[in-house]
Point group: C2
Chain length 227, copies 2
């Protein structure tokens, strides 16, 4: 697999290194020679060049790439022109980082396959975890279903799964329970270990402090999350 | 809940708006009046101020906050000084965005409760999804267990769950199956819908193109992911 990463800011340089560590052949491009010097030991090839220079891009073989990620946001013109040139050359897969909604809209019009908003996506995740500290994670499994990880609500503490009537009353399934155990080590110090019970039976008791992993339709999960 | 967001770049401004939409009382601070004008209709209060000015921070009541997020990375000195002042004032929870590993190290030394690396975290996720396109998501449930979403491997196509020996041979459980159905609409056009089968029985048949949602110990999930 050959991937080009164009633009080596925090996002681009982390992406280039991470792909290289997984064994992907990475070719890094940036107009700033200092950035190229920093990365050349961590990728297959690194070139100093202005990515809006069509001839320069052709000379390093962008046509043969399995994919290219353009990570430039402070110079929107450079980002868009680079994507347009790559699209014209028939590059199979083009992804690009966007700095704003408007930037993203233009990238999509130009034919970019996937637009990424790192700061905005992470900001939404943080807002979610600040607002609902008892919710550890909500994962979209499909347009209709999601997985929720949350601390056991008060009304379920001390009950066995069958008696909580989760399936019939709330339409959610418990797929796992996470429980913390205090463990005394040889040196006399206590530490905490976490054990997980997968696909628990209906007779399993739920304890205060357990973290439940639940699966269900989105509207049922949303109702249950704030119980 | 009262939260301050200091520094309104892409990350900070998205965070402030997102928290406000959830009903959290958000107080936004930035030294740039243009940023404050942009955000003042979307938060409870917004102040133009240099966050390293201790008296100014006290005057807006940072002590009463449930938490504060400092989102400044191009001026590392401002980020660190602001966190140090907030720590001295006894603010309950301080989170901060970091622009590099070194920046993060100093923030932790100063006593920041949580350091966030939006660009780097998203870059790793993208590298993961580029390298393993058949893997849609790997979710850490606990230090020992994770959930994997992947396309059905060749050897399982056309078999019923019991005959795949997933539990005994690989130590992984199927918690759900996602399957795409072609649907013909009234206007004669076909579209694709996705159905999900939760906690499938051992007799359920697995079809080519199904997406499996699997749960198991990390080392078992890692072995199975590249089958
Ligand atoms: N025309 C161009 N050709 C090649 N590289 C370019 C071009 N324009 C900008 N770059 C490079 O792209 C990189 C990233 O730029 P930019 O500052 O826009 O990214 P960013 O999105 O702010 O970064 P971060 O990921 O750190 O948030 C810089 O290293 C810059 O030198
Ligand atoms: N001392 C300060 N007091 C208040 N605000 C400040 C101070 N220093 C910087 N800021 C503000 O912090 C904001 C974010 O700054 P910065 O550019 O460092 O963030 P960033 O991490 O690059 O942003 P992004 O989230 O867009 O990647 C800017 O709006 C800037 O005006």
């Amino acid at each position: 697999m050959i991937f080009f990463v164009i633009g080596l800011g925090r996002f681009g340089s982390t992406l280039a290194r991470s792909l290289h560590e997984k064994g992907v052949e990475v070719i890094a491009i940036d107009k700033d020679s200092a950035r190229i010097e920093e990365i050349e030991d961590f990728v297959s090839k690194a070139y100093v060049m202005d990515a809006t220079n069509e001839k320069a891009l052709s000379s390093v073989g962008v046509k043969d790439a399995d994919g290219i990620v353009v990570c430039i946001t402070s110079d929107i013109e450079a980002s868009i022109m680079t994507c347009m040139i790559l699209k014209d050359k028939g590059v199979r897969k083009i992804m690009a980082k966007a700095g704003s909604e408007l930037h993203a809209k233009i990238l999509r019009k130009v034919g970019v396959d996937r637009v990424i908003f790192p700061e905005q996506e992470m900001a939404h995740r943080l807002a979610e975890s600040i607002y609902s500290p008892h919710i550890f994670e909500v994962i979209d499994l499909s347009p209709e279903y999601s997985i929720l990880e949350r601390i056991t609500p008060k009304f379920m503490e001390g009950k066995v799964i069958r008696d909580t009537k989760l399936r019939t009353k709330y339409g959610v399934y418990i797929i796992a329970i996470k429980r913390k155990f205090p463990i005394v080590k040889e040196d006399g110090k206590t530490s905490v270990e976490e054990k997980i019970f997968i696909a628990p039976s209906a007779d399993e008791e739920i304890l205060k402090g357990d973290v439940l992993v639940l699966l269900g339709k989105k509207e049922n999960i949303d109702k249950f999350r704030d119980q």
